[in-house]
């Protein structure tokens, strides 16, 4: 006869069960704090936030804003990958171009782009275009850097032997360089996704007259933490799902190299 306490203790020995336990504890703490200690003008208990998720979706304009944000993220990500790949290959394949332009690319990558966020709004307006452009400006640098690193990882002997067997430029790209680049390319896509999420969400929050930024500002000014937390939770879930998709792809495609 095993008592309940020993059974709990045994279960806790598994890290993932303990991890869920920590998360549940945090939520309980939040629930208790929000119910009894903290002014309801500032914090809502998670149970109420969860129950009123429907209310968030019923707010006029919120579903449309969320849908637009999702499309902005998707378009910005695809554009970042395409631009990053093209520039990365163009710069990475030529040693001279790499040595000339990589320092400039790294310099631009290192500067905080949020300082020019107002410029993006000025040039591209407050609609989706500015958010996509800002997302791309965050997303394509890590992809360029990893693509260049991936191209460099190709052993020169493979290139020489492919060329000596009469491979065309396209054939070398398709059969030698590209397969070797895949693992680092997917690592770059994951970093690119992180950048795109940061860029698009920053721009969305900055523009407070339309889209997500309008609603976060509205809920903050109305001291409506329930709907604010609901909206933020939905966006966080969106970010987690997109991150997870790219991470899974990285694990899947990054593997063959080590086989």
């Amino acid at each position: 006869m095993i008592s309940t306490t020993t059974r709990i203790r045994q279960a806790l020995r598994r890290p993932w069960i303990a991890r869920i336990g920590v998360i549940v504890l945090l939520f309980c703490f939040w629930e208790i704090a929000a119910r009894w200690w903290i002014d309801p003008m500032f914090l809502s208990p998670p149970s109420r936030v969860f129950m009123s998720l429907q209310q968030v979706f019923d707010t006029r304009g919120v579903p449309a804003a969320l849908r637009i944000t999702f499309w902005e993220l998707a378009v910005a990500f695809v554009l970042s990958v395409v631009i990053g790949l093209v520039i990365g290959l163009a710069v990475g394949l030529q040693p001279f171009a790499r040595r000339s332009f990589m320092p400039i690319i790294l310099l631009l990558y290192g500067t905080p782009q949020v300082t020019i966020l107002p410029l993006f709004i000025l040039y591209f307006g407050i609609g989706p275009a500015s958010k996509i452009a800002f997302g791309v400006s965050h997303g394509f640098f890590p992809i360029i850097v990893t693509v260049v690193a991936g191209v460099q990882n190709v052993k020169p002997i493979l290139l020489t032997s492919a060329r000596s067997m009469g491979a065309s430029r396209w054939q070398m790209l398709r059969h030698v360089i590209f397969p070797h680049m895949i693992p680092s390319f997917f690592a770059g896509m994951r970093l690119g996704m992180t950048g795109v999420l940061l860029g698009v969400l920053l721009a969305e929050l900055y523009v407070s007259t339309a889209g997500i930024g309008y609603f976060t500002t509205l809920f903050t000014q109305n001291f409506d933490p329930t709907r604010l937390l609901g909206l933020v939770a939905v966006l966080a879930a969106m970010a987690i799902v997109l991150n997870e998709v790219v991470r899974r792809a990285e694990v899947h495609f990054g593997r063959w190299h080590t086989d």
Partner: protein, 257 residues
């Protein structure tokens, strides 16, 4: 590709390309504003920007905003590095705790925490407190994660050897754990510093009353484009200087650790 670096192409040529590229950019900018009549509301004349930049430096009007931003950054970084190192060290003490908390931290780290800025503004107001809290939260995770990695994966043989030679707890920490973990922790602190700076300027841009990010937005709303460009140049310069300083400290710390 080390082999290609040994080829005869001179580094001078690539330097020339870099300089030409940057000069061409400025010349294009100048021509666009003078010859091709791009609206000064979209792109101000570079000469005017340069004048404004010197004006900002000479009059010292940047001082109050710079002070606000740097104070926020310093407090946020102090909070996140102490709490990150302490929490990371406590977690790294047993394999069990590492396996419970490390995936949790890296999962949270992958969420764009800037998303929670509206909540921070609701809790802490528009003043510096919300920026400090956000910057501290965002930079906590890379520092804690690298501390866990630093202390958690010290070679067991070294620890056992030190123990069998009769090292005390303090000696073990001072002469085995610390030197092994320090380089990784310092890298984490540099990453934490960079994201803290970024998120503080970002949150000043989105919702604030003072600071460099706020100044840029203020000028953008007033359509004072030349001055705004000058401030952008100034902030980029400050950020680059700070990042270089922190990288230099990191390398120095690693050498002495």
């Amino acid at each position: 590709m080390k082999a290609s670096d040994r080829k005869t192409e001179k580094p001078l040529a690539s330097r020339a390309v870099q300089v030409t590229f940057l000069v061409a950019l400025v010349v294009l900018w100048y021509l666009a504003t003078t010859r091709w009549r791009v609206s000064p509301l979209l792109l101000p004349n570079p000469v005017l920007v340069w004048d404004n930049f010197w004006d900002i430096i000479r009059t010292g009007e940047f001082l109050s905003d710079l002070r606000v931003t740097l104070t926020e950054l310093a407090i946020a970084f102090a909070i996140s590095s102490t709490s990150g190192v302490i929490v990371g060290y406590l977690i790294s003490r047993t394999q069990y705790r590492i396996r419970v908390f490390e995936p949790l931290f890296s999962a949270i780290y992958s969420v764009p925490i800037i998303l929670f800025l509206p909540l921070y503004v609701l809790f802490f107001g528009l003043g510096p407190a919300s920026k400090i809290a956000l910057g501290a939260t965002i930079s906590f995770f890379p520092i804690a994660l690298s501390t866990i990695a630093g202390f958690g994966y010290v070679d067991k043989v070294l620890v056992t050897a030190a123990r069998s030679m009769g090292a005390s707890d303090y000696q073990l920490f001072r002469y085995v754990l610390m030197p092994a973990a320090l380089p990784i922790i310092l890298t984490g602190m540099r990453m934490g510093f960079t994201v803290a700076l970024l998120s503080i300027i970002g949150s000043e841009t989105i919702a604030s009353l003072a600071g460099l990010g706020h100044r840029i937005v203020h000028l953008a709303e007033g359509m004072e484009m030349a001055r705004m460009f000058a401030y952008i140049v100034f902030v980029v310069f400050i950020a680059a200087t700070l990042n270089m300083l922190v990288s230099a400290l990191e390398t120095r710390g690693k050498r002495h650790g």
